[in-house]
Amino acid sequence: EAGVAQSPRYKIIEKRQSVAFWCNPISGHATLYWYQQILGQGPKLLIQFQNNGVVDDSQLPKDRFSAERLKGVDSTLKIQPAKLEDSAVYLCASSLVLGELFFGEGSRLTVL
């Protein structure tokens, strides 16, 4: 069974530029999550989708971050404009409605 796919694995940009990350969840998983993991910390939830609807985006900095999950499958997370403090690993995870989260390898963002 294929796991959660994310791209790109690495991205380096300058502050004020924009960046987009893509996630393809495990087939059949209705719930998709985007987490931000800053070095030395645990993952922090940015947004959670149930099919193509948003369940929780309370910690998403909506002035610069946006995410969508068209057709309830793939998802993209965009940052525009990026700040230095956005340097982190962006993890996508998927799950059946409840239970175990399956994570992708993450997209490491460096903002210079």
Binding site: G40, L45, L98, F103
Partner: protein, 112 residues
Amino acid sequence: TQLLEQSPQFLSIQEGENLTVYCNSSSVFSSLQWYRQEPGEGPVLLVTVVTGGEVKKLKRLTFQFGDARKDSSLHITAAQPGDTGLYLCAGAPHSGYSTLTFGKGTMLLVSP
């Protein structure tokens, strides 16, 4: 927001030693999960505990959920270099509530 505090933050031991890491909160969780994250990878689920006082064993790893469902511990017997990684606990506040809150993790380094 329910917080999970993990201790110690960092642990460096020799192969063959035993260790215990802790996950504590002032809030009650309906269930708690432990994940291990290796460098450059996403977290991988080790175990889910749901009943107060529950003890689960996974080979050399023993997980315990506190009676009041506010804390948990992970004990590793005879640690091996392959146990090296970031150990994360994650709690679900309510039954049927799929959003997890993660702790900051315990970084374990096991040297040969």
